[in-house]
Symmetry: C2
Subunit: 113 residues, 2 copies
């Protein structure tokens, strides 16, 4: 069974590097698809598909303007990721170094079983 549909989960949607780029690109300004295509150097259908995914999980909003569709990031939808990762915040100060040292110590011999 593959991973749960990217269409239904913000974490999953954001896992795609291009989608993160798109979200950044649309963060502070709404833009038509053509600008995303030009700005990020992607194919138009590809951008449309990514936008569809982002729209499905509410990460972007759309608005029509003549022949254009203006997309913009919906920052609010990113918040759950922020909250989730924030839960670990207090730990990385404490753990800093410990695990890293281990990783280095083990890097040559993680063994197999």
């Amino acid at each position: 069974m593959p991973r749960a549909a990217t269409t239904s989960d913000a974490f999953n949607a954001v896992a795609e590097p291009r989608r993160r780029q798109i979200l950044e690109f649309l963060a502070t300004q709404e833009r038509p698809v053509s600008e995303i295509v030009a700005g990020l150097g992607l194919e138009q259908p590809s951008v449309s598909k990514h936008l569809r995914v982002l729209r499905n999980v509410g990460l972007v909003g759309v608005r029509r303007h003549g022949r254009h569709r203006l997309y913009q990031t919906n920052a609010e939808a990113i918040r759950p990721m922020y909250e989730w990762s924030k839960r670990f915040e207090r730990l990385w100060a404490h753990q800093l170094g410990r695990i890293k040292e281990r990783a280095e110590a083990n890097s040559g011999n993680p063994g197999t079983g």
Copy 2:
């Protein structure tokens, strides 16, 4: 072409719900695989595979203890996600409502092209 390998990107590794569960489970305490299996109700091979992915991207560390392998979340590796999502923080206060209203207004007629 499918998504970039989950093995090389923390965002991608975390996209899997079980892996997030595992990270939460191992956040404050190191534990052997068997406890993860019991605690989360997953199959052992499945857990081992998830742990492998998490280890590859540095999201967990391992330590041997007799026959056991003690895993623990490396919170530091979650930090990039935190930082990334944090960049949108100032926006969600401002945008709150705007996009949401649009989404509702458009919900019935996003049109097709």
